[in-house]
């Protein structure tokens, strides 16, 4: 492999800065600008501003150099399981930079924002259809934010029934994403962990044992984080509903089911979607994302305000939601992300939507079939196809050579391949969770499997080579322990020298 990532020993902005430079220009104004300084009470006036000062070319070069030390979907495969990193169509970026969107202020009279409201209204309808829910709010800023909002709705529903004092437990499988328990606790619930059975699915007997009049609901990911479809999901729904609880669908893995199965049809009352995953809006190195939330008919009255609605003539912001949980974000959602998802859905359409899940599931099983199965063990439910992602254990490699999942991940980086998600779910030893997505050509899937097999082989012959990886990246393996230790922690460029 000829890969070598750019290596710039790029200084910090503060080291590049020099007094007497500025990269910004301002219009000249006919008037005495200094006069406003006198309006500020003396003791509230800022004396000095310690920001670094740079010229425009310096700023541009600095950030371009940094960008060259960053891996991205546009460079290659990014098979992070549970994160669905697929190709993001360029047209969506173009459309999202339209000044008729970027220059809109959230307080504008609704008569002046009919275009964006129409798009938001249509998008929420489409997402409701795709998820099989009655109504969708576009407000949540991320998947976890959607989870929190969903939990607030469950809380409001229970409160409305006068059961809040008793009903305060949220059931969550031990294989769930960490955001589930965190979101439930933020909304005031106690978390009850539900174990996994020998098939890798929710342990129904344990679930039945955990159910009580304290059960507020259950948060479930389908397919689960092992990539397995919870085939007893209807039964699970029934158990929860009969106990008086609600079913929450974590939409992180919805890419596997588009157009084939709908969460609403499976018995879920609340569903969040990660637009930056399933609907191909880029993730921006950590955000912005967007986490719209759909609910069943019974819960529509609890949705956050405002909702975008249409009265037959004009689109408007509806604040008249009878039992609303209130407002959950400053304004109406991450609009530029929403419009990218809208673009994507229009491009894919009803005819090809199902092909997304088909192709992503095909890619994942194909990649799995090319792995050396004695090195990468497939735990749980052998013979059952995985969905959009799968989890293997690198335990055999560790036993033989001491090389761990982390080392394998770092070794992949040397080949210009992004590592899979590692050490998750927690129920699999030395877990590697791989999600190739539907946008990877077959040749890349072959290459990825080959790389993993080669690394497994090398681990036996020359483990040190794997443990020393990566060497072709912009920096060799980092000392992450030092970074978090109280004595060596550096969270700010002040006091560096």
């Amino acid at each position: 492999m000829g890969f070598k990532q750019a290596t710039w020993d790029e200084p910090l902005l503060i080291e590049l800065g020099k007094e007497g430079r500025c990269g910004y220009s301002l219009p000249k104004v006919d008037g005495d600008l200094e006069s406003v300084v006198k309006l500020i009470p003396e003791r509230l006036l800022r004396k000095d501003i310690p920001l670094p000062s740079l010229s425009e070319p310096q700023v541009v070069r600095h950030f371009v150099r940094l960008s060259q030390m960053n891996y991205c979907v546009d460079l290659g495969m990014y098979p992070l399981g549970s994160c669905t990193m697929k190709y993001n169509p360029k047209i969506a970026e173009r459309i999202a930079s339209d000044p008729h969107l970027t220059r809109l202020h959230p307080y504008q009279p609704v008569e002046t924002v009919q275009g964006i409201l129409e798009i938001m209204y249509n998008l929420s309808k489409m997402l409701a259809e795709i998820t099989g829910t009655a109504k969708v709010t576009l407000a949540p800023a991320a998947g976890a934010h959607g989870e929190f909002v969903g939990c607030l709705i469950i809380r409001a529903y229970i409160k409305d029934k006068g059961e809040l004092k008793v009903r305060n437990e949220m059931l969550i499988p031990e294989s769930a994403h960490g955001t589930n328990p965190a979101s439930a606790v933020m909304a005031g619930f106690k978390v009850v962990k539900i174990p996994t059975d020998e098939e890798g699915l929710v342990d129904i007997e344990a679930l039945k044992a955990a159910i009580s009049q304290r059960t507020a609901g259950m948060m479930l990911t389908v397919p689960n984080t092992l990539g397995l479809f919870e085939r007893r999901v209807e039964e699970i729904s029934k158990i929860i509903h009969e106990a008086g609880g609600l079913m929450y669908y974590d939409g992180a893995n919805m890419n596997a089911l588009l157009g084939r199965v709908r969460p609403g049809d499976m018995g879920f009352d609340i569903v969040h979607m990660n637009l930056h995953k399933t609907f191909a809006t880029p993730h921006g190195g950590g955000g912005p994302g967007s986490g719209p939330l759909g609910v069943s008919k019974e819960l529509v009255d609890f949705l956050p305000v405002p909702l975008v609605d249409y009265d037959g003539e004009k689109y408007f912001l509806n604040y008249n939601i009878p039992k609303t949980i209130g407002r959950i974000k400053g304004f109406y959602g991450n609009i530029s992300v929403l419009i990218k998802a809208y673009t994507y859905i229009l491009m894919v359409g009803s005819d090809k939507l199902k092909e997304i899940s088909n192709q992503s599931v095909l890619a994942s099983n194909y990649l799995l079939s090319n792995l050396n199965s004695s090195m990468y063990l497939l735990p749980y439910s052998k013979g059952i196809p995985r969905k959009h992602e799968f989890v293997v254990s690198a335990k055999p490699i560790q036993m033989k050579s001491g090389v761990r999942a982390m080392d394998i991940a770092k070794s992949l980086l040397d080949l210009s391949l992004h590592a899979p998600t590692i050490y998750f779910p927690l129920i699999v030893d030395e877990a590697l969770m791989i999600e190739p997505t539907e946008t990877e050509p077959m040749e890349n899937l072959d290459e990825y499997a080959k790389a993993l097999n080669t690394i497994a082989h090398q681990a036996e012959e020359d483990p040190q080579r794997i443990i020393d990886a990566p060497i072709n990246t912009s920096i060799k393996r980092l000392d992450e322990v030092k970074a978090s230790h109280p004595l060596t922690m550096k969270l700010n460029w002040r006091g560096l020298k």
């Binding site: 990269g23 910004y24 600008l33 200094e34 003791r43 509230l44 920001l51 541009v60 060259q68 030390m69 960053n70 891996y71 991205c72 992070l80 459309i95 970027t102 220059r103 202020h105 307080y107 002046t112 924002v113 964006i116 798009i119 795709i130 955001t179 328990p181 979101s183 157009g259 049809d265 499976m266 880029p282 950590g286 209130g326 400053g330 304004f331 109406y332 609009i335 530029s336 673009t343 229009l346 491009m347 359409g349 088909n358 890619a363 090319n370 059952i384 969905k387 770092k410 539907e438 946008t439 920096i475 060799k476 393996r477 980092l478 000392d479 978090s484 922690m489 550096k490 969270l491 700010n492």
Partner: protein, 463 residues
């Protein structure tokens, strides 16, 4: 056949799909879904439009968006949490680099140094700006940052009350309540002085006792008014052992003393003015910073990037730190559920602040303050208008009172559209006692001609 293909699905062609199926020794893709109960499988095609070409989709969305009214055709004088500011070309250029925008959360730091160093620099710039010691690498927006700051203060102090003022942003107040309520936090709200627009100091002091985890104030507040008693307020809450949380418009900090210098323990704010477009209110950028107390930092929500070295000690590098606070490690014991944040917006802010530098920020702050005072003064000369309505000094946003009978602030807001002006948020929506007061905002993008257009239009509406 082009219709059997799709630009984003490289293996859709029957021959390629077949090769892959052969490897799996199955006949059809449906076999891969055989474990899904038949009763759940969707029998119909979803009620969505048929897929369209890129050309058609672009045309359709652009035509729909064209129904929106924006500047330069319509002048925008709205503020209150999102403001029309100029975004330098460099900012859009950098955040349009796909190395940044198509990357994920930097779980593998060795190939993510670009995002990591940029975020470390963002955190450092925010610390410089606010005079705080530690910043996280962003929250969803100002409103959610306020809520998380209150919860953080309550965890840190092990007390159950928060005190705030009625003059904070009303939307932010609602979001804050929503984050506080499930945690059993009581929020006490004190009033503001109807003449100055500042928080009523005596009411505030009376509300502080040993149960109060923190006071949350905004400076400038929702009315654009600069709170002049912040030193006294900081002393008062500190003497009772509570924290002082301050919310800021970062562009005011070119002129105003940073909260860290008047005793703030946590600073939150809206980062949208730092190089982000308004986008109808999202994505925004929640600023979040605090003092360097180790125990406080460990209660902080969100991601923090730190500096370290390569294991061999030869090179400087960056990675995520203190992840044991976060949801993916701590699960139900995490400080917050936030995972995806607004990283790209934080990078935009880092680019913006590094273009500005100390002098650029100072000059920009002055220009904004000058323009807004210039506009307020011209408006005050209109008969039937009191501007600013509140007497204390303001920055960027200001209140305008209509003293003439027969014209409401709500009507002014609507009628201005006829003059192709978007402005004057009617405060009656949030405050009964401000039935005829509107909030305007003037920034560096407004020329004297723009301001004259506003003045003429307001004059016509109230005449």
């Amino acid at each position: 056949m082009l219709e059997d293909r799709h630009p984003y699905l490289p293996n859709l062609d029957k021959r390629i799909t077949q090769q892959m199926l052969n490897r799996l020794k199955i006949d059809s893709i449906d076999d891969l879904f055989r474990d899904i109960p038949e009763s759940l499988v969707l029998k119909k095609r979803l009620n969505l439009p048929e897929g369209k070409s890129e050309l058609e989709v672009k045309k359709h969305i652009e035509e729909t968006l064209a129904k929106n009214k924006v500047y330069p055709e319509y002048l925008c004088f709205l503020g209150g949490g999102v403001w029309p500011h100029y975004v330098p070309a460099v900012v859009d250029e950098i955040v349009s680099r796909s190395e940044f925008y198509t990357s994920y959360t930097p779980y593998q730091p060795e190939i993510s140094q670009g995002v990591l160093q940029a975020l470390f620099e963002y955190q450092s710039l925010i610390c410089d700006l606010t005079a705080m010691d530690v910043a996280n690498s962003s929250m969803y927006d100002w409103a959610t940052a306020v809520g998380e700051a209150c919860r953080m203060a309550v965890r840190f102090k092990k007390r159950s009350r928060i005190v705030t003022s009625r003059n904070i942003g009303p939307e932010r107040f609602e979001v804050m309540k929503n984050l506080c309520e499930p945690a059993g936090i009581d929020v006490d709200v004190v009033g503001f002085d109807l003449e100055t627009g500042e928080t009523d100091l005596s009411q505030l002091l009376a509300a502080i006792n040993d149960d109060v985890a923190a006071i949350y104030l905004e400076n400038p507040n929702f009315f654009g008014v600069i709170e002049s008693k912040v030193f006294e307020i900081a002393d008062a809450i500190h003497s009772k052992g509570g924290l002082f949380i301050v919310g800021v418009d970062p562009l005011s900090l070119g002129l105003l003393k940073p909260p860290g210098e008047y005793g703030a323990d946590i600073v939150v704010g809206e980062g949208q003015p730092l190089g982000l477009h308004m986008n109808y209110g999202g994505p925004l950028l929640g600023i979040f910073a605090c003092k360097g107390d180790q125990n406080l930092i460990r209660q902080m929500p969100g991601r923090i990037i730190g500096m370290t070295t390569s294991k061999d000690g030869t090179r400087r590098g960056y990675c995520m730190v203190l992840q044991t606070r976060e949801q993916h490690i701590r699960r139900e014991n995490a400080t917050s559920n936030i995972c995806t944040n607004e990283a790209l917006c934080a990078i935009a802010a880092a680019v913006y602040l590094s273009l500005l530098g100390s002098e650029g920020l100072r000059e920009l702050s002055k220009l904004i303050m000058y323009n807004s005072h210039y506009a307020s003064k011209l408006l005050s000369e209109i008969r039937g208008i009191k501007s600013p309505y509140f007497t204390s000094t303001f920055f960027k946003d200001f209140t305008l009172g209509i003293t003439k009978d027969g014209v409401s602030a709500e009507e002014l807001h609507k009628r201005l559209v006829e003059y192709r002006i978007l402005g004057g948020l009617p405060l009656s929506r949030y405050y009964e006692e401000l039935s005829n007061v509107a909030l305007f905002s003037v920034t560096e993008i407004h020329t004297k001609e723009d301001i004259q257009r506003l003045v003429d239009a307001v004059g016509k509406v109230v005449s």
